[in-house]
Amino acid sequence: MKKRLFILFALALTLMPGFVSAATLAPERVSAIRQQCAVIQTILDQLQRRDLVARTNRGRAYEAQIKQIDALAQRLRANDITATMLEAPAANFKAIVESFRVAYVAYDDHMTVVRQIDCRQRPEDFALKLEEMKVLRHALGIEVTKGEEALNQYRQAVVVLRETIPEDKRSGSQ
């Protein structure tokens, strides 16, 4: 569902009047795409691989952060410490990680579609799909930025919480 929304978002943007600029389908550009087709396909293949590595690394790092966040929440609960200020930023970060995953799938699916277009035979289609792909890649980048901001907000909330905890606060079970 989210993936469909992302694709619809991209399509809506590309179908907006004036978004597909005349430059996208300018005869010189279309001709350059046809001529450079093999090179462009190689570059896109390398980019897709590079992006997959980044996705894997980033996904793992996000998982590690979520694990830490959950562990701290559990520990606070075990000590009967209410930390409502951490709940919203933690939930926000988790939601953004999910959006990031959806955005990556939408982008990667589109990249696969673009790579399957024969740019020698159909350079115009290729040019249009390339524009859509740029929008999806940008949307993915925005999710990364949002993730960074959410982590900063969470960190700030932890710092605020730290000030409320006395140095010698001990668990009731100890």
Partner: protein, 126 residues
């Protein structure tokens, strides 16, 4: 139950059962192989149809990419039941900052990798 009874009376089923009764070991082996093959076909189909294969860096041809995967640094196991004090929070924040630093090393997709210059569609202005 009625269906099963009818099925058992079907000549093909009866013949197959008679054959299996006569050759129990080969029949068991055949069944085991058939079950394994069916499960393999289902799992491989799911792997491709659901798109997992596309995100799998252990595929052949991705040797170089595999080397670029960050080795997971030993993550400090956070005790979920211990006491909470400022030292504990400080230790949490240190670990948190390390993870955040790691994130900065990975691609953020905001680079201009799809410009006409990068794709060699247009030559950069001199």
């Amino acid at each position: 139950m009625k269906v099963l009874k009818r099925l058992r009376q079907h000549p093909v089923v009866r013949k197959t059962m008679a054959l299996a009764n006569r050759h129990k070991l080969p029949a068991a082996l055949f069944l085991a192989i058939a079950a394994a093959l069916t499960l393999t076909v289902i799992s491989v189909s799911m792997y491709y149809v659901a798109g997992f294969s596309r995100y799998d860096l252990s595929r052949p041809g991705y040797e170089k990419e595999r080397t670029e995967i960050a080795k997971p640094t030993a993550q400090k196991e956070y005790d979920t039941t211990g006491p909470v004090n400022k030292t504990v929070i400080d230790s949490f924040l240190r670990e948190f900052d390390d993870r955040q630093k790691d994130l900065k090393d990975y691609g953020d997709y905001l680079d201009q990798s799809l410009t006409d210059e990068d794709l060699l569609i247009a030559q950069p202005a001199e």
